[in-house]
């Protein structure tokens, strides 16, 4: 090679390398878009997986790790799954099922020896879902799961509504994996349920009506598609049933067996069934019984008679006589250390559930800045529910076998007993209304102001004890003197919130 050719070749390298640097500067921002929140966590990866991320095979390693997690799941080795979940979400932040399964696992599968969830993990589960949703902002899946956990596990219906609304505005992947389809109808079905659980019935009905209208169109387009017809039918059922429930609870009580046998149509404005048979009083015995109920409750008796419409199901107010039935009260005993034996009374139908919650006096739900699996082991938080049978409820809760969950390292605790009509079954709500409009109690009724526009106030039952560690260890008895007035408890919680926000 001649010296001049050699020189020319060396000179040619300079513009070529300038072009390389220029191209790299063009590619960098696009690569950031592609990588998104992807990270390359080498620490924590076992030897057989460590080379993959170095070669740029994050997704493949994430897939293999997820297969490994599946094996652990089937072996029942749940503790091993969480680190893998974290690793997979770092390597491939677009594996939706990993976020969803991981969060479900955190919320539902960590339990004490009696299968009670370790609720200290719930903030972590929600944070994982928030992270997953932020990394996948175009698809509905993770937002829907966050909504589902909010409605099913946390019972925070306002939070559930927010997530379901978000999910309903997103897209779903089609069979080819393109994110182009509208999310499935069940997303809005859950939104309607979340609204109903808040007592926002008209908004819930509007969602059902909109879904029903869209499904009617789909049935017209695909008259032979049985799945579309089934969806339409279930929407119609829910829509009409809620219309009638609203009528029954707040206008004139419906006799449901008669409704099933005779109702032919429902007025969509009022919820009134046609013919009127389902909500008319049929005999004098019923008229007398209802009038007496009003008198006993001290409420004015409305005009009544055979053939007249019944009063609304939520009238007169029903006294739950929480812990005062037949002059009795709750008995809270600790026969041995950390074993709670609790029994109580409540004048509601079988199937209503009383929530029993024992928590550190100063416990507040932590606001996690970033996702973490670790929970504060010193926190004690136990929640259980028990159904009312024959006006009584209660159970023995043994927390002594699970010191990791129930450390009882604090000095004082709140034992909170609640009956929340918004969380109860529809057949119980048929008497009390969606927000407890028909409920009363001489000692333990509280009213929670609306949290959202269009939401009625919530009337619920709550009884709170303040217990010392010595009482939980069984060395001192629990008496009615330990009951904290609801107003004092609310004030304490507000102060706690203000301290935390400072």
């Amino acid at each position: 090679m001649s010296p001049s050719t050699r020189k020319n070749l060396i000179i040619a390298i300079v513009p070529l390398m300038i072009a390389v640097v220029f191209l790299q500067s063009l590619l960098d921002p696009q690569l950031k878009q592609i990588r998104g929140a992807q990270r390359t966590p080498l620490v924590g990866l076992s030897n057989e997986f460590i080379l993959g991320p170095l070669l740029g095979l994050q997704q493949a390693v994430a897939g293999l790790l997820w297969i490994r997690a599946d094996e652990f799941f089937h072996e029942g080795d749940y503790d091993a799954i969480l680190p893998i979940v974290r690793m997979v979400t770092w390597l491939d932040p677009h594996q939706l099922d990993v976020y969803i399964t991981g969060a479900w696992h955190l919320s539902y599968n960590f339990t004490d020896s009696s299968e009670r969830s370790d609720r200290r993990y719930i903030p972590a589960a929600m944070k994982l879902l928030e992270e997953g949703d932020a990394n996948n902002p175009t698809v509905y899946d993770i937002a829907f799961e966050a909504g589902w956990q909010s409605i099913d596990k946390i019972k925070n219906y306002e939070q559930a509504e927010d997530w379901f609304r978000k999910a309903s505005l997103r897209k779903a992947a089609d069979e080819a994996g393109r994110v182009t389809k509208s999310p499935p109808m069940f997303v809005r079905h859950q939104l309607a349920h979340a609204l109903a659980r808040q007592g926002r019935i008209d908004e819930s009905l509007a969602v059902w009506k909109q879904c029903l209208t869209e499904s009617e169109e789909k049935v017209k387009e695909n008259p032979n598609d049985s799945s579309v017809r089934n969806v339409r039918d279930s929407q119609r059922h829910n829509y009409l049933l809620n219309l009638k429930r609203k009528f029954s609870r707040y206008t004139h009580e419906i006799d449901w067996p008669v409704d099933r046998a005779r109702t032919q149509s429902v007025n969509e404005q009022t919820g009134e069934p046609t013919p009127r048979d389902a909500y008319l009083m049929t005999d004098q015995k019923e008229v007398t019984s209802r009038a007496n109920a009003f008198r006993r409750a001290g409420e004015p008796v409305p005009p009544m008679g055979v053939g007249q419409p019944r009063p609304p199901a939520t009238r007169p107010l029903w006294d739950t006589a929480f812990d005062t039935q037949k002059g009795g009260t709750t008995t809270v005993t600790f026969p041995s250390a950390k074993v709670l034996d609790i029994k109580g009374q409540m004048a509601v139908g079988d199937g209503a559930r009383v929530t029993i919650r024992l928590q550190d006096e100063k416990w507040r739900e932590p606001k996690l800045k970033d996702f973490t699996f670790s929970v504060d082991r010193s926190v004690t938080l136990m929640q259980d529910q028990h159904s009312v049978r024959n006006y009584t409820w209660g159970r023995k809760i043994d927390m002594s076998k699970d010191p990791k969950m129930y450390s009882f390292s604090g000095e004082y605790y709140f034992l909170i007993l609640e009956f929340n009509p918004r969380q109860t079954s529809p057949f119980i709500q048929d008497r009390f209304g969606w927000s407890g409009e028909g409920i009363t109690d001489k000692k333990y009724l509280i009213t929670i102001p609306p949290m959202r526009e269009g939401q009625p106030p919530l009337r619920m039952i709550r009884k709170v004890y303040r217990l010392s560690r010595a009482q939980i260890m069984g060395s001192q008895p629990v008496t009615e003197k330990d009951v904290v007035p609801n107003a004092d408890f609310d004030r304490f919680q507000r102060e706690l919130q203000q301290t935390a926000s400072r």
């Binding site: 070529l16 390389v20 790299q24 590619l27 390359t40 170095l54 095979l57 997704q59 897939g63």
Partner: protein, 255 residues
Amino acid sequence: MVTMAIAKQTLEDMLRRKILLILLIVALGMIALGPSVGFLSPRESSVVLRSMGLAVILIAGLLITILSGIQVIPTEVERRTIYTVLSKPVQRYEFVLGKFLGGIFTVFVMIAAMGIVFLGVLAWQERHFAPDMLKGVLLTFFQMMLLGAMAIFFSTFATPVVNFFLSFSLFIVGNMSAVTESLTSNKNPVTRILASIVHFLIPNFGNFNIQNKLIHPEVTISNETVFIVQNIVYAIIYSAVLLILAILVFDRREV
């Protein structure tokens, strides 16, 4: 013409090498076994199938490229056949270019075979053709072209063993472009300068990793076609630089 003749001879020679054929057969087998991960949920099984397929193509392509690239020139020297070739009216640059093109044709044939099987398996498993995956296969080929040029450059002065580790190490460093890119905005000026040198001057093999986009359709970039074209141009220009360097070094080498 001479370059193409050398390339053709190199391709034929490479396709006869058992080690490369074994690598290809193993890779094809692994791609074909991809659907066995179908026990996962339908969505995740698709993600795993796609990512595994592209990963197998990349790993097999990587081994084939390095194993062929590190040997083409040293083998000719070792067998002394290079003397016969260079005693004829063959320029040294023609020899280097011919060897490079022969190696790249080999890699192309093998990646194409794996790509066809991968797309076939995907079509059979998912009941539809996924042409998007071709983009991943195409970018893997250009990634390997750049790696091949680097291996050829090292083979002009390093032994095959040294070349293997050099090429493999630089491939790993080049795949860490996300890390080096983030370090270019480090507060420490020394780190910033060093990271910029590494990021802009070492071949960025991570540029060709479009898997996230292909596997997860919800990932969007401004213009995918522009991104792919820019990557191809990057690979071609950088390969040209490496080949010029290889020619310059080989020209001075005493053989």
